[in-house]
Structures are given as C-alpha cells and as structure tokens.
C-alpha cells in the first residue's frame, strides 16, 4: 500500500502542517470544492489525530480514503473525491 501511495499523482496538495486539530480537517473540507469527482487530494499534516479523523470524514461524506505514509515530521494522507 505504502509504495502505491508514493507513486500516486495528486491533483491537489493541501498543506495543513501549520495547524492542529481541527485545522487539517477544516483545510481539507475547504479545499475539496476545488476538485472534480474522482480526483486525488493529498493532505500534509503534522497532527497525529488527523490520521484517524480524515478516514472518518471520508467515511461520512463519501470520499474514498486511500491511506497515508509518514515523512520525517509529518504525514501524507490521500483520498479520492466522491
């Protein structure tokens, strides 16, 4: 899964490393409107909780959560817009 994600090309990267909970979720929610259905969003977050929150958000709203992988000081999370 991790290698899959690393070769993924995102249509939009949302850098939410500068905010803690619920900042990254808000940033993702605001940016999702810029994407078309089926496009890939990548969220950069330094907040550990985001790894649990983004899948729950996707679950509820209908986006397809693809997973995440960790960098040195943050994580990259991926999803496909509904």
């Amino acid at each position: 899964m991790a290698t899959d994600l690393k070769s993924l090309k995102s249509d939009l990267v949302v850098d939410a490393r500068g905010t803690a909970c619920p900042g990254p979720l808000l940033a993702a929610k605001k940016a999702i409107g810029e994407l078309e259905s089926g496009e890939i969003m990548e969220i950069l977050s330094a907040d550990e909780g985001t790894k649990n929150d983004i899948p729950r958000w996707c679950d509820k709203v209908g986006h397809e959560y693809l997973g995440f992988y960790d960098e040195d000081s943050f994580s990259r999370l991926f999803l496909i817009k509904e």
Partner: protein, 188 residues
C-alpha cells in the same frame, strides 16, 4: 387466483406507504445535526464546544449552538460599550469577562496566569485561537442562538455582543426544538 394476487399487491402497497411515512418521520426527527447547550463560560469549555462544532461542520453536520448563562461572556465584544444600563447591570458588566479573550480556566486559572499559559501553548502547538475559531464557525455556517433570558439576567444588551453572521436571540423552546431534531446533543 388472480383475485388473491391483486389483494396481495394492494396490501404490499399499503405496507410500503406506511413504511415511507415512518422513514420520513424518522428522517425529520433525527437530522444530521449537532445541538450544544453552551452554559459554561470557562475558556476550556468554550474551546471544547468550538472545536467539536468546527469538526462537525467540516463533516457536513449542521451545527446549532445555544449560548446561555456564563457562556454569554464569551460573546461580548470588548470594543463595544452599551449605554443606559442600571447599576446592577453595570456591576455585572464589570465583574464578568469582557469577551472570549478574557475568559478564565475551570482548572489551574492561577489568577489569570493559567489562561495566558494556555494561549501561549496553543500558539506554539498551532491550535487556532478562540477568535479564529469563531471566524471559521461563521464561514462554515454554524448558528449561534443567544438565550434571551440570560441576557436580561446578566444585564447584557445586544449592542455589546459580537458581530457574528448567524446570530439570533431566542428562548429555551428553540433549543429544545433544535435538540429534538438533532442526532447529537451536548451540554457543555
């Protein structure tokens, strides 16, 4: 044979209609909505209410906040000073925190040192300030209802409350009605 089949279909139709009615009623009674009665005026508790509300709004849940009693202090605008208050209202106005930046902590307040430290830590950890949270809440369409009765009790005037895009004044019945149709109800 044919006759019995016809009756069955009719019966089925009736059952479907009854089910439709029930589903409609259920959908109306439990909307994807969060109602919070915010009663506490402590910084930590108002903060909790706002964080939960923002997360809910980001998840497309309709959010309705009902501010009453001590929490009204959080909605005061420090730059506004209303005129024509009687003596007791003036005293309340002086004794109670003037705005969200003046709230105290429910624990470890230490004469105002606690809130200062928390604010410093929040900045360091990149947590939004209360002011920023209210701004975001406004953008996300979070509704705030101020308890009319509490306003009278504390001697607050609508002229001294913050400018917020979705602000209204109402009574307890409004909260009960909102909460009744919300899937999530909280009291903070």
């Amino acid at each position: 044979m044919e006759a019995t089949q016809e009756i069955t279909i009719q019966e089925l139709q009736l059952q479907i209609d009854a089910l439709k009615k029930k589903v409609n009623k259920l959908e109306k009674s439990r909307k994807d909505q969060l109602s919070i009665a915010v009663v506490s005026g402590d910084m930590d508790k108002v903060l909790a209410a706002m964080v939960i509300s923002l997360a809910a709004a980001a998840m497309d849940t309709q959010v309705k906040l009902f501010f009453s009693f001590w929490s009204l202090s959080a909605l005061r605008d420090p730059n506004k000073s209303p005129k024509g208050k009687d003596f007791i209202s003036k005293m309340f106005g002086i004794m109670l925190p003037k705005g969200k930046d003046k709230l105290s902590l429910s624990n470890m307040n230490m004469g105002g040192m606690g809130p200062l430290m928390i604010k410093m830590l929040m900045k360091k950890q990149h947590v939004m300030s209360l002011g920023e949270m209210f701004k975001q809440a406004g953008e996300l369409g979070i509704e705030i209802t101020i308890c009319e009765m509490s306003m009278g009790l504390m001697g607050f005037k609508s002229e001294e409350m913050i400018d917020y895009p979705h602000l209204r004044y109402a009574g307890a019945a409004t909260f009960v009605a909102d909460a009744g149709e919300s899937a999530i109800q909280l009291f903070i």
